[in-house]
């Protein structure tokens, strides 16, 4: 097995810098999710690790060994592509067999290897088909099987669920973590879907414009996002963001929401008197009875039941819209006037100008490679 390390990697296309002095360590056996919008450099990073493109600067180490100048075929990685990249002129069996053929396995070993991984991914019955005769889901599984079959110590998965339908994506999201854990491989998984990132990653690296903006466990990214952008990307429904200016009184630091003082738990000394944005996760808000301390009066505008939760859109007396989420089946307010309470501990405070989160609770060291 092998750890993976990128040291100060720079990749430019023409004058555009796609990866900007990026360093990253993935521990042996860890699953790291690269999350970010398209154009963030996620795919480029995977290709650099795979060795099909070369970095302009920096080094790539696999298992502690410098692989920067080693050709792709000698790096011992498996990769699944977003568009599957199946060989159109070969059957599914031959597609999956290509890594085994390269390692000069015997015919019987190839057959056994392909069939076992095909069984695992439930595509045993379509092995004789050419890619164009496969459904999207089958193509995706074939591509995954090809990446897995040689048991590569490093697995690179480039948004493998992007081009499959919602139902299959849901199934695979449940199936993949077990599959990857069983393999014990070091995995780098690219996705633009935050739920996938939360479900699969031991750690998540949030990328944007060629740099890693935050690296941490899914819990950390969700609870302590480095900035407004990341807070907005993780969470459904999206985090409520309200402009505030924190003040201080005897009980500590507070913000004013609809003339109600909400005290914040945490060291926000530096925020006092600054223009800030408060981030309130919809599930950190709850309907309360009138008269509860720090209850904010609101008007219920609309209620949307989702599968496992109910999302309510409410409006404050100052006209600001807020989303409140509660588990399905729990009582809530469906119309008219209501009161909500804010959990001061889970509130996130951001500097309005820079977008960075204020507070010292957990400064994530981007360079550290500690697994969660």
């Amino acid at each position: 097995m092998a750890s993976l390390e990128l040291r100060n990697v720079v990749k430019r296309y023409k004058s555009q810098t796609v990866l900007d002095n990026l360093s990253l360590t993935v521990a042996d056996g860890e699953t790291l999710v690269l999350f970010g919008p398209s154009g963030a450099g996620k795919t480029v990073l995977l290709r650099l690790v795979a060795g099909v493109i070369d970095p302009d600067e920096g080094n790539i180490l696999i298992g502690g060994e410098d692989m920067t100048d080693v050709d792709a075929e000698f790096r011992g990685v498996g990769m699944a592509f977003q568009n599957f990249a199946l060989f159109p002129h070969m059957t599914a069996f031959d597609n999956i067999a290509t890594p085994l053929e390269a390692s000069r396995s015997s015919q019987s070993a190839i057959k056994a290897g392909v069939e076992s991984v095909a069984k695992l991914l439930k595509i045993g019955h379509v092995l004789s088909h050419k890619p164009r005769a496969l459904s999207n889901g089958q193509k995706q599984r074939t591509a995954l099987a090809r990446a897995l079959v040689g048991s590569p110590p490093v697995l690179l998965l480039d948004d493998p669920l992007r081009n499959v339908d919602a139902k299959l994506r849901f199934e695979m999201r449940l199936e993949l973590p077990r599959l990857l854990a069983d393999r014990g491989a070091t995995v780098v998984y690219v996705t633009q879907d935050y739920k996938e990132a939360m479900a699969l990653g031991d750690r998540i690296a949030v990328m944007s414009q060629g740099v890693i903006k935050q690296l941490g466990t899914p819990e950390q990214i969700y609870r302590e996002p480095a900035n407004i952008e990341i807070a907005r990307l993780f969470g459904d429904p999206t985090i409520n963001l309200l402009d505030v200016k924190p003040s201080r009184d005897a009980k500590g630091i507070y913000i004013g929401l609809s003339n109600v003082q909400v005290h914040l738990a945490g060291s926000y000394e530096t925020a006092v008197g600054r223009d800030c944005v408060i981030g309130l996760r919809p599930e950190a808000l709850a309907f309360v009875d009138e008269g509860t301390p720090a209850a904010i009066p609101v008007t219920v505008e609309a209620e949307t039941p989702l599968n496992e939760k109910i999302v309510t859109l409410v409006r404050t007396v100052r006209g600001r819209e807020i989303l409140v989420s509660r588990p399905a089946g729990t009582p809530g307010q469906t119309e008219g006037r209501a009161y909500i309470a804010v959990d001061g501990k889970s509130a996130l405070l951001f500097d309005r100008a820079s977008g960075d989160r204020i507070g010292s609770k957990n400064v994530v060291n981007l360079r550290s490679g500690e697994a969660a």
Binding site: E73, F74, S103, S105
Partner: protein
Amino acid sequence: MTAATMQRNRPSGFRISKRVLPYVLSLPALLVCIGILIPFFTSVVYSFQRYRLSQPWARQFNWGDNYISFFTDPKFWNTLEISLLYAGITVLLELLLGLGIAMLLQKRSTLNNFISIMLLMPLMTAPALAALMWKLMTNPGFGVLSYLASLIGLQDFRWASSPSTALFTVVLVDIWVYTPFIMILLLAGLRSLPTQPFEAAALDGVPRSFVFFRITLPMLTPYILTATLFRLLDSIQQFDIIYAMTQGGPGDTLTVFQVEAYLNFFQSTNVGRSAALMIILWAITYFLSNIFIKNWLRLRERARGQA
């Protein structure tokens, strides 16, 4: 399956590095390139020399003399005039005819597709052989075209053997061979045009002439330009048809650039003049091909985009 399966042998022995690989792959083509550039530069050198194969001892640099003498040489002006005339007439007629035929065949139907494939046959005939075919058909003794001409009152129509009709005859053969080239390119262009503007125009009852000049032609322009320049580049250098048909004659009626250069080289053994003629022709084609390549690249990008 264990991790050991992935333990691949590292490169051993001879291995081409990533950076060198593309050069290695294109090296043979590059060598051919160089092999052809050498005679090209030799031509440049010859064009500045007094060089006759019959008088090798008198070979010496005369610098611009070959070129300067062209100014006062009626044979050169004849060559330039007939070359431009030939290229202009053939390409213009082929363009009009090719566009017309392409529009007749625009609708996809079995018959239209069949006809368009049949019309490719002249284009696939070697131009030199096409010239021979027409030579047989225009033979004054038994040629079927001479017979047909006599039927419509053109007794003793001499076709390529008379100075007054020689140009007409070779142009006719050129049209026969190359109109399908323009036709097939424009047909592909016409059939690749989006249909919405035409449907909208038909719904609005826009007159046909308006549709043709304001919608069809502008949208077809890149194809027309590419096809025309392609033909112009070939036509100004026409050799096969003219040489096979008349060898530049009768007299010097049809001594276009390449024919004149060929005759200068092999009959008058005047290498210097011949090379100078070719350099002038090359300058003309170089100018045209620069315009051409821009258009061609744009069209090529578009074709790749369709894939």
